[in-house]
């Protein structure tokens, strides 16, 4: 027989880790002044420029300041490309007196007059209306995902399992969002997709363990739920680790090779997928266990 690790006895460690992560992420996010919403959500302009010669970030910033533009500057892609992303947000929401195209040409002019022969290779402008819609629909999306998953799980397993999975998934989604706030990842559309992927991955992982618990509940009917849980998690541990390794390997490739936008996306997935297995062991299963304990079934 294989070794059974007593996960349920160690669940307090898991709770502490969760608490600790929530606290430092929330503090970190507040310290940074809240979430870093991208122009996809708050509206604004973004241009990608290619300079003919190498430039310093500070020089670009100075050029923008001289033109009275508040903006963020970031390197884009490889250093040798001399490409930078400059983005500004609409300062006041809903202000429409200044025509949008004016806004973007002001930035372009500021750059091209300070650095002649600079090429604008990409342009984005997003009005404020789009952002509000996006925020709303992103929330709707998550809500619908949760409802349908609960339904499927309640149908395939016990209702308590559906609740356990729900708590685990919300745990992962919240922590992933806070992680973005903590490290200052700009929240844009790809990042929302990333969060939803974590959602799917985390639940996938939880199901594999639940599936084994369900099976063992038949085979080990005499044993307590605690033992069944420990046994099931231990049995599937190998698979959990292997799958995570292969998936994280793929994400790591994205992180190392990817473009600037994909980099943040990959970093988020690296964190979220790790949380996915953590929550399976230390959130999803303990929720059912605590529930059974409270209702004196365990």
């Amino acid at each position: 027989m294989e070794r059974t690790i007593k996960f349920m006895e160690y669940r307090w460690i898991g709770y502490l880790i969760t608490l600790f992560l929530f606290i430092i992420f929330i503090i970190g996010t507040i310290k940074r002044g809240g979430f870093n919403w991208g122009i996809d959500f708050v509206g604004g302009y973004k241009i990608i420029v290619k300079f003919p010669n190498p430039v310093q970030l500070s020089e670009i910033r100075r050029a923008l300041e001289n033109a009275g533009i508040k903006g963020e500057v970031q390197q884009y892609g490889d250093e040798i490309n001399n490409e930078y992303v400059i983005s500004t947000r609409l300062q006041e929401r809903g202000r429409r007196d200044e025509s949008q195209s004016q806004g973007i040409t002001v930035i372009e002019n500021a750059i091209t007059s300070a650095f002649p022969n600079t090429l604008v290779v990409g342009r984005e402008e997003v009005g404020p209306a789009i952002g509000d819609y996006l925020k709303k629909s992103a929330l709707y999306l998550i809500a619908w995902c949760l409802v349908f998953m609960m339904l499927y799980l309640a149908f395939r397993f016990e209702f308590r399992f559906a609740v356990g999975a729900l708590v685990a998934v919300i745990h992962d989604v919240l922590l992933s969002l806070l992680f973005c706030g903590f490290v200052g990842i700009e929240i844009n559309i790809p990042i929302v997709a990333g969060v939803l992927t974590i959602f799917g991955y985390s639940i996938n992982d939880t199901i594999v363990v639940y599936d084994r618990i369900r099976e063992n509940m038949e085979n080990m009917a005499k044993q307590s739920f605690k033992e069944i849980s420990n046994r099931s998690i231990s049995q599937t541990l190998n698979r959990t680790i292997l799958t995570t390794v292969t998936t994280l390997m793929a994400v790591l490739c994205l992180y190392i090779m990817g473009e600037a936008i994909i980099n943040d996306f990959a970093l988020l997935l690296l964190f979220g997928f790790t949380m996915g297995i953590f929550s399976t062991v230390f959130v999803a299963t303990p929720v059912i266990y605590e529930w059974k304990r409270l209702s004196k079934e365990a």
């Binding site: 195209s101 402008e125 209306a129 999306l141 499927y152 639940i203 793929a250």
Partner: protein
């Protein structure tokens, strides 16, 4: 081999072969044929040849004024760029053989972030409209206005000389336009921003017939249809006007119809109209869908008080039997015959219309009556160099992920690992073939979805292999362990994948392009990986089990 296994083998081979054929138009070589204008100079042709030879394509001069460019990685942006070169009349791709009958394969398009281009999201200015109408717009009004704006944009978008433009309705009345390979975003914005011009003009049947006869005499148009490029359309119209000696009071335009499948507007025949307007667009006050006395769908409309007099004049006896053309942005879109003298300012356009045709016509008439101003809500343009860079690093990451995951599986599971590596490759082939078949637009997030799926696809294999290992450890024979391993893993895989599918499916309903792209690749990846793991991989193991006295399994 048992008979059942033979059938399975045939089935699997057929599926794989079909999948490979489906992806040929996407990954195979493409051929771009560039046609030069009649007056093109040899220098211009040489410049084009030199340009594509330098880019590493196979270039051959097919005849005096056609150049063929063959190679991998040719996309719509390249084609649209080719059309802007001096001396070029047209540039078109030669369809791949798999795109023809009977397979009718399609290809994966590249998103604007990978090939460069421009995306615009426009929202009709509802507040301006509300002020003009003096009432709040209801949900269905918004729907109608946005339909009207979409019709206007469809009418207009092919003037940019861009092939494969995409127009889509988005949430709350917004309209999304994608134009791959646009060179001059400013020109596009200028043209998009203006409101539509709708006119009602009498048709001159005598000259219309002459123009049609003239065209009949030109066999080239019979075979290939009328030109789709706005510039060559204009040139052709001028040529017709000259050849049939059109009097200066008349003008020849094309009558446009919409291809139902692609929603593209194409010119179908010439039509000669009076230059004098019978009615202006704003002489009409309202238009709506109705039924005529025979119960057929028709368009009902009313004129303004001012318009009523003009309309009575236009429909007077002398014009009976003539047609009144409805023209928007110099495109004739409908030409109903005048049968009755109408003095009430209220009339119907009757015919054998489909619902869609009636709605289109209503939208056009309304656009004239109450022009909608459009506001740019979002604009994204990506230079071609940025696109190529993004694509290169995306595919590089994809390649490395495939190699890394396959190597890992082989090292860990040995021969069984080779089977799953083979599964990973098959999975990619299947994904590509389904995406090609869906005519999918691949974006950078889509590539990310691909990479992610590779990591997740081996999950099914891992679950199965770990289960088989467990069964072997618990003392079962190898054969029995394989069967029960697959059996037990089956529901685990289904349950876990269905939940991921739910998330991916809901994601794919999210309006915006990049998320959709990601979700679609993810959902398809989940489906194909289930098929590969639970059917094809299983079959390979069944073949292995057939070996007599199988004692050990390399797993």
């Amino acid at each position: 081999m048992k008979r059942g296994a033979v059938y399975k083998l045939i089935f699997i081979s057929a599926v794989i072969a079909f999948a490979v054929i489906l992806i040929l138009p996407t990954v195979g070589k493409r051929e771009l044929v560039i046609t030069l204008q009649d007056g093109a100079v040899a220098d211009q042709a040489d410049a084009i040849v030199a340009r594509y030879t330098r880019d590493g394509y196979e270039v051959t001069k097919k005849s005096e004024n056609t150049i063929s460019v063959k190679g991998y990685g040719l996309n719509d942006a390249v084609m649209n760029e080719a059309r802007t070169f001096p001396g070029v009349k047209d540039a078109k791709f030669v369809p791949h053989w798999a795109e023809g009958k009977p397979i009718k394969a399609r290809r994966i398009n590249l998103g604007l972030d990978l090939q460069g281009g421009m995306q615009l999201v426009l929202i009709p200015k509802f507040d301006v409209l509300e002020r003009r109408l003096g009432k709040k717009l209801s949900e269905s009004d918004i729907e109608e206005v946005s339909q009207q704006a979409l019709e206007l944009l469809r009418n207009r978008v092919d003037q940019f000389g861009v092939s494969e433009p995409q127009l889509r309705r988005r949430q709350s009345g917004a309209i999304e336009i994608q134009l791959p390979g646009v060179r001059d975003p400013e020109a596009v914005k200028r043209l998009i921003g203006t409101t539509g011009r709708v006119e009602y003009r009498l048709v001159n049947d005598e000259y219309t017939q002459k123009a049609e006869e003239w065209l009949q005499g030109k066999t080239e148009f019979k075979e290939k249809g009328l030109p789709l490029e706005p510039a060559s359309q204009r040139a052709l119209l001028d040529e017709i006007a000259k050849d049939i000696n059109l009097p200066p009071s008349l003008e020849v335009l094309f009558y446009f119809e919409r291809v139902p499948q692609t929603k593209k507007l194409i010119p179908v025949r010439p039509m000669v109209l009076e230059k004098q307007l019978s009615l202006a667009g704003d002489d009409i006050s309202k238009a709506y869908r109705a039924y005529d006395e025979y119960g057929r769908l028709c368009v009902s409309f009313s004129t303004t008080t001012e318009g009523a007099a003009k309309f009575a004049e236009a429909t007077s006896k002398k014009n009976h039997g003539k047609r009144l053309a409805i023209v928007i942005d110099n495109k004739v879109r409908s030409a109903p015959s005048i049968n009755v003298h109408i003095t009430t300012g209220h009339a119907q356009i009757q015919g054998d219309f489909t619902l869609e045709e009636v709605d289109t016509l209503v939208s056009i008439i309304k656009e004239g009556a109450l022009p909608v101003d459009l506001e740019r809500a979002e604009e994204r343009s990506v230079g071609p160099s940025i696109g190529v860079d993004a694509m290169k690093s995306g595919f590089k990451a994809l390649g490395i992920a495939i190699v890394a995951v396959c190597l890992f599986m082989i090292v860990y599971y040995k021969i069984s690992g080779i089977i799953s590596a083979f599964g990973v490759i098959l999975n990619i082939v299947f994904m590509l073939s389904i995406l090609s078949w869906l005519n999918f637009t691949l974006t950078l997030p889509g590539i990310a979805g691909f990479i992610l799926t590779i990591g997740m696809a081996v999950d099914a294999n891992v679950i199965i292999y770990e289960r088989i290992k467990e069964e072997i450890k618990s003392g079962k024979s190898v054969k029995l362990a394989i069967t029960s391993g697959f059996e037990r893993a089956f529901w685990t895989i289904i349950d876990s994948n269905v939940t991921t599918l739910i998330a991916a499916f809901i994601l794919s309903q999210f309006g915006t392009g990049p998320i959709k792209g990601f979700a679609v690749t993810l959902s398809i990846g989940v489906l194909t990986s289930m098929f590969v793991a639970l059917y094809i991989t299983k079959f390979v193991f069944e073949l292995i089990s057939m070996k007599k006295n199988l004692k050990k399994l390399s797993i």
